[in-house]
Amino acid sequence: MTLAVRDLSIRYGFFVLLVALAVFFYAAQPAFLSLRSLIFVFQSVSITAILALGVTGTLVVGGFDLSIGSVAASSMMAASYAMVIWGWGTAETVALCIGFGLLAGLFNGVIIVYGRIPDLLATLGTMFLLLGLQLVPTAGRSIARGMTLPDGTTATGSFDPSFLSLGRARLFDVLPVSVVVMLALGVAIFVFLEFTRWGRVMYAIGSNQQASRLAGAPVERYKIAAYMISGGFASVGGILLAARVGRGDVSSGNSLLLDAVAAALIGFAVLGAAKPNAFGTLVGALFVGMLLQGLTMMNAPYYTQDAVKGAVLVVALLFTFSMTRPGER
């Protein structure tokens, strides 16, 4: 009986917290629980969530990807560069960016797997590398229509309206495209990790690499694939960012890494999984988004948002994790 209670609170404690928060915000500000507001929460976390879903893939194989923020930022710059300076169309630009993200992931995967560099270290290196490289083509300037290039000429291209609509249009006039993309990628990676044999093998690798190898898993390829997923997702995030901002802005995307990591890690606690999982990651991202939205609606100063985010994070996780592995002694 007590066991069942604990079990339930492990599995659903997080949701209870989520609902409690929603009720609290609703009481304080009834506008909080409208469809618009809900969609706004989804939209505000969509890019973070997409990055977080990607990093979940690397967490599953026991890795970590610190470069996602900079991959997203670079992808945004690449998209802007392709459209504004080369005058490319939407399809080519999107292909370019995703290709770039996959390449960055491949690079990470190869130096981790074959170069044997610990993952944190390797992706930190990639992060710095991209943070710098993305600014080289424009000598550190943001990319905007009609900008002056380093060689003194003026850029002639502009963002294609169809590209911008990726960040701005709404499906059925309700769901923003970025939310649709987030949900689609979320469902895809969830199904992939939970129900397919490839996902299963990824979990196996994360738990015991040697045993997985001896059970016939091509560990190297899987790990590289995981980093490519992560890079690819990050680049999708970058594309959406570019489409929403409409500019290759050098300072956008600064906080993406930490927020995405927070979402993926909070996901550990959802449903008492205590392991990386796509559903948890999505819920984690929404949780953070809801929190920030609620606080904003209650007119809390910006700095309380970080503090409350941190506090709720710690409390929620304390609650979940301190109960997860019961009675070891």
Partner: protein, 322 residues
């Protein structure tokens, strides 16, 4: 009593401040100004912080629309992401003013602190102090709109005075900025012993350069010219010795007040004009020492043009501190 509608019943009026940047003294002072002015008017002010997330900022405009506010102040942001959002607000019949971001909308007055004037004032002082020929180091990080505008003035200036030689350019926004810039400046000063002037058109940069100059013991050989001001900056400029000799600044709190006043005028059906410019003031180290100015309040008291402005102040408008 004789205020125009809707300010005869100010408790029914609510306005939103949608911010792009929030961390830092400038933004804090701006917020204070806006809040004080809103209080003086008796209206409700909601603050929406996007924390440098351009996409979120655009969403927040929509959120403000949904909350049913009467007016919106947009503080900073990117033209590309704000233009459409602001247009939606205007279409919804909401009055909008924008500070330091061009939203390309005739119906939206632009509040400006004129970065070009800021840079010009500081540089003119530099020429006055050092003549028309000197070796300069320049602190700059591209991609930040106000810095880019200040950079244009610097380029013009270099063109105008061929004797000004830029021997080094550096800069970083790594936090804490002053500390990181200090590290860079030390290297630059050692590599270029001939530098006598440093143009650091952002007070964090100037602060960092000053640390490096102090550490190198060059306080009397180098002069720093900068933009923006805060209490901490005043203290740094007043130190003895201090290489930081002049800064051009607009009072951020004043800009906050003007932004809300301009919005109030719109709401009252008046026209504040399309460009509402808050003029900058040059503050030199000598002025601070002579008038014994130790913080922003004293600066406001002793330099009236810094403390208040007639910009956007019709007679009915209650002013802060009155």
């Amino acid at each position: 009593a004789d205020k125009p509608a809707p300010f005869d019943q100010p408790e029914k009026v609510s306005i939103a401040l949608v911010r792009y940047l929030s961390t830092g003294d400038f933004f804090q002072a701006y917020l204070t100004g806006a809040q004080e002015q809103a209080k003086a008017l008796g209206v409700e002010l909601r603050v929406l912080d996007s924390r440098q997330d351009a996409a979120l900022q655009a969403d927040m405009v929509d959120q403000a629309i949904a909350l049913g506010v009467d007016g919106i102040v947009v503080q900073h942001g990117l033209t590309e992401s704000m233009t459409a959002a602001v247009q939606r607000a205007v279409d919804a019949g909401i009055k909008v003013v924008a500070f330091d971001v061009d939203v390309q909308n005739d119906k939206v007055p632009q509040i400006e602190q004129s970065d070009r004037d800021l840079a010009r004032l500081a540089l003119e002082q530099a020429v006055k102090d050092n003549g028309e020929a000197f070796q300069a180091a320049y602190v700059y990080v591209p991609g930040i709109a106000p810095l880019d505008r200040r950079d244009e003035t610097w380029k013009t200036f270099k063109g105008k005075y061929s004797g000004i030689e830029e021997v080094a350019q550096f800069g970083t926004l790594d936090n804490p900025i002053a500390n990181s810039v200090a590290n860079q400046a030390s290297a630059v000063l050692r590599a270029n012993p001939g530098v006598t002037v440093v143009f650091a058109p952002y007070d964090e940069f100037a602060k960092g350069v000053k640390i490096a100059v102090d550490e190198a013991g060059l306080s009397s050989d180098i002069k720093i010219y900068s933009a923006d001001i805060s209490t901490a900056d005043i203290q740094a400029m007043r130190e003895d010795p201090s290489a930081w000799v002049a800064t051009a600044a607009t009072n951020p709190q004043l800009i906050g007040e003007v932004s809300v006043r301009a919005l109030a005028m719109l709401l009252a059906g008046e026209d504040p004009g399309h460009n509402v410019v808050v003029p900058p003031t040059l503050v030199t180290r000598d002025m601070l020492l002579e008038s014994d100015i130790k913080n922003m309040e004293e600066l406001s008291q002793k330099l009236p043009q810094f403390a208040s402005t007639d910009v956007a102040s019709p007679d009915w408008m209650p002013k802060v501190g009155e």
